[in-house]
């Protein structure tokens, strides 16, 4: 596209990924996969199981390494960078609410740890007293009353509370990219709605670039400014904000069905 001035924030080029290489279960997922994320975009990715959505997130985060191709983040080649180093730039919220924080540590301790992300973890006091008030203010934004429970172990919170906290923790320090890995899938409808609204607010207020994988087609249509549908390691639909206006859940379901028919299901 000629009108593009700046480089995309994330560029995946000619990605190859095969699972279980050398075994009878060898499965080629990405043969020559290309994908880019523009700065400031909020992308929703949908697709059936095995379509490569989560693998895509894992490749960006470094939980999986590609067999070939390159991954650039803000122009920096991160193809071979280990996951923990990429974490300095990337925040991630998982499907499982227990992944986003430490259950035995208190809310305060978890937030203090997150606040120090990417810096040295040395012998200075773990929880800085000066920051407690700021942590409280951050927690107030969740509207869950967690600011009054800062000394409670995270393990005692409900799934919805934990996921909201995980979202806050993932975005507490400035990050370049927020990865949302089916982060509402394990929650009840009300918590799920709440977390999704929070996500939208954080992405807007903190001006984040976000990639969200979801099985909830309505979320995919209602939230974000770009919608991608994946199938068997390729993108079968990729619509931007303006085109998305005319896109409904029914349209998406129709495509899902067409794909299923193609596959002979």
């Amino acid at each position: 596209m000629p009108e593009k001035i700046t480089r995309p924030l994330v560029e995946l080029t000619n990605i190859k990924k095969t699972f279980n290489v050398g075994s009878v279960n060898e499965a080629l997922l990405f043969e020559d996969f290309n994908f880019s994320v523009e700065k400031g975009q909020f992308i929703s990715i949908v697709g059936s199981n095995g379509s490569g959505k989560t693998t895509l997130l894992n490749l960006i985060c470094g939980s999986l390494m590609p067999d070939g191709g390159s991954i650039l983040l803000d122009g920096l080649d991160i193809t071979k960078m280990p996951e923990y180093k990429r974490s300095a730039y990337v925040g991630r919220v998982f499907q499982d609410p227990s992944m986003g924080a430490c259950p035995h540590l208190t809310i305060l301790e978890n937030m203090a740890l997150a606040d120090n992300k990417g810096k040295r973890y040395d012998l200075r006091p773990g929880v800085s007293k000066k920051r407690v008030e700021w942590y409280r203010q951050q927690l107030e934004m969740l509207h869950l009353g967690l600011e009054d429970k800062i000394n409670m172990p995270v393990g005692l919170l409900s799934g919805g509370q934990r996921q909201a906290l995980a979202l806050l923790i993932a975005t507490l320090t400035p990050i370049r990219l927020l990865i949302l890995d089916e982060h509402t899938a394990a929650l009840d409808p009300k918590s799920s709605e709440n977390v999704m609204e929070l996500t939208d607010r954080f992405v807007r207020e903190k001006k984040l670039t976000a990639v969200m994988v979801t099985h909830n087609l309505r979320y995919a249509v209602d939230y974000g400014d770009r919608l991608v549908m994946m199938h068997k390691g390729t993108t079968v639909k990729d619509v931007s904000y303006h085109e998305k206006d005319g896109c409904s859940v029914d349209d998406l379901l129709k495509i899902f069905n067409e794909i299923s028919i193609e596959c002979g299901n």
Binding site: S87, A88, R92, C102, L105, Y121, D122, G126
Partner: protein, 296 residues
Amino acid sequence: MALGLIETVFREGFIYALMAMGVLITYKILDFPDLSVDGTFPLGACVAAALITLGVNPWLVCIAAFLAGACMGSVTGLLHVKLGITDLLSGILVMTASWSVNLIITGGTAIFQFFNLPTIFNSGIASALPDALYAHRQLIIVFFLAVIVKLTLDGFLKTKSGLLLRAGGDNSRFVTSLGHHPGHVKILGLAIGNGCTALAGCVLAQLNENADVNAGKGMVVMALAAVIIGTGAFRRLSFLKLTTMAVFGAILYKACLQAALLLGLPSTYLKLLMAVLLTVSIVSQKIGRKGGAANA
């Protein structure tokens, strides 16, 4: 006689508490079953024997023993983290290798004696104690050592590094997301754990004025039992710190052993009893948990 026995229980309890607090870090906080403890305990003793014979200040010897143990613990961690060897096997490898390391330090003798040389129990602070307390100097010194180590560990666990260590045992993915290698946190924990263990070995050697290369047999079992008994028996007392529970556990454990011997159990059966005690404490903790869940 009864008082003397109680003093023995507390004296040995506080020494083994040093090790129990170390194992608390690896087993309870990091969830790492560290078998290298069987090797690092006598390592501390051998370092003590070698350095005290050379005339090094006995308190400096304690620090040296801690550092030697920390190095050996790091090796366990490196084997596990960098070479991908399982946690149990990494510990076994270090435990086996330490046998030779300890013999090299003692110059090939299995029992290295160093009678009548300055130790933490007969020089410096100990000799400055008033006469009335001098008879109990061993108990007083091990008590203060245990308190110092406990307070230091408590303080450490509240630092940024300590919080990250606790996070590592709780949710290693979270450590990754904070931009740190979870393996490095494990190595740090193993270093501290084994440092404490070697310190315990060093103190015991100074008390006995000899270092026994075989002193490590069953230390893992003993330390685990102390930690499990301590954290299990006192878990309802939420105001107690984990380190305090480990100290109490070590004393309780020693009391159990002493009681069994007092009731006429031949010392041949001691290791058997140690294994039984650990088994009972693990099983009773499991039953306790089930009961708790049923009540909830």
